[in-house]
């Protein structure tokens, strides 16, 4: 009943993504040893987001799923951003 399952993702794809994840891990450790001040946390979050995207889109097959799945994920991320962002309108401005 699910169309995308007729085409299993080849091993090679997963292994390549895994290599990319290892490389990104090395990068995140290396960059974290350099003093960038306030930028450090944002770089760390940025790299983590790239790693997450690889896991989500490839390992978790999101790129083969229908638009509904992607809209669902976006909705959750928007709500999360709102929760965090609006909390900071308090915390940052006390």
């Amino acid at each position: 009943m699910s169309e995308h399952n007729h085409e299993p993702v080849p091993y090679r794809t997963f292994i390549l993504i895994w290599c990319a994840l290892l490389v990104l891990t090395v990068i995140t450790i290396a960059v974290s040893r350099v003093h960038l001040g306030a930028l450090n946390i944002w770089v760390a979050l940025g790299v983590a987001s790239i790693k997450s995207s690889l896991v989500i889109f490839v390992f978790m097959h999101l790129r083969q799923e229908s638009k509904l799945f992607k809209i669902g994920l976006t909705t959750m991320l928007v709500i999360l951003a709102i929760f965090i962002g609006l909390t900071f309108t308090d915390v940052l401005y006390r």
Binding site: M1, N5, P8, A44, S52, V55, I56, V58, T87
Partner: protein, 199 residues
């Protein structure tokens, strides 16, 4: 239930919805982290240096690899390679056990030094350091619980696959267990730099 109805896409969609709830669950702890970090930047740095970056890195590599093996396991089953699938499932579980054993040693060392939630030693180290470690233990602890649950789920599905209750035609259970496992990996992808790598 009166009618046998099968909806693999619906099953996967339901699993994704459940994963969103897990993300929001952890986000509460990350919000507390973000606020504390903005209040105590130097103490967070000091506290982060007390964490063992080697344990953290090894555990990161272990989890990333376990994500690979479970993803491969699903492809294996879809390609009809049942034996490979089972080997990959048990490898995933093995890696999960390695992760938990590492955690056990890591935490034994820290707790041995008097660093644990509510300890007097921790309280004396300053409010920022205390906040860091409290959040670290609660976040990593909740994560570890999810590692345990995820590994158990995969074990159950592996046994069902061995018994041909999960097959190359009908593998949603494996797929959903794999999705859960990837979430466990995703949480750690953020925990690692935020706790272990602050300069």
């Amino acid at each position: 239930m009166s009618i046998e109805h099968r909806d693999d896409t619906g099953d996967r969609f339901g699993m994704w919805l459940f994963l969103y709830t897990e993300v929001i669950l952890f986000s509460g702890l990350f919000i507390l982290y973000a606020v504390s970090l903005s209040k105590f930047p130097e103490q967070f740095s000091e506290a982060s240096h007390k964490l063992n970056i080697y344990f953290g890195t090894i555990n990161t590599l272990v989890l990333l690899t376990s994500s690979l093996t479970i993803a491969l396991a699903l492809s294996a089953l879809q390609m009809g390679r049942k034996k490979q699938c089972l080997i990959l499932c048990w490898t995933t579980i093995g890696l999960a056990i390695v992760f938990l054993i590492n955690k056990y040693f890591e935490w034994s060392a820290e707790i041995g030094h008097g660093i644990y939630p509510g300890s007097e030693q921790l309280a004396e180290m300053g409010p920022g350091v205390a906040a860091f470690f409290n959040l670290y233990y609660f976040t990593a602890g909740l994560h570890g619980l999810h590692v345990f649950i995820g590994a158990t789920l995969i074990a159950v599905v592996a046994v069902m696959t061995a018994k041909d209750k999960v097959t190359s035609e009908r593998f949603t259970l494996l797929e959903n267990s794999a999705l859960y496992w990837h979430l466990v990996d995703l949480v750690w992808i953020f925990v690692f730099p935020l706790y272990y790598l602050i300069l």
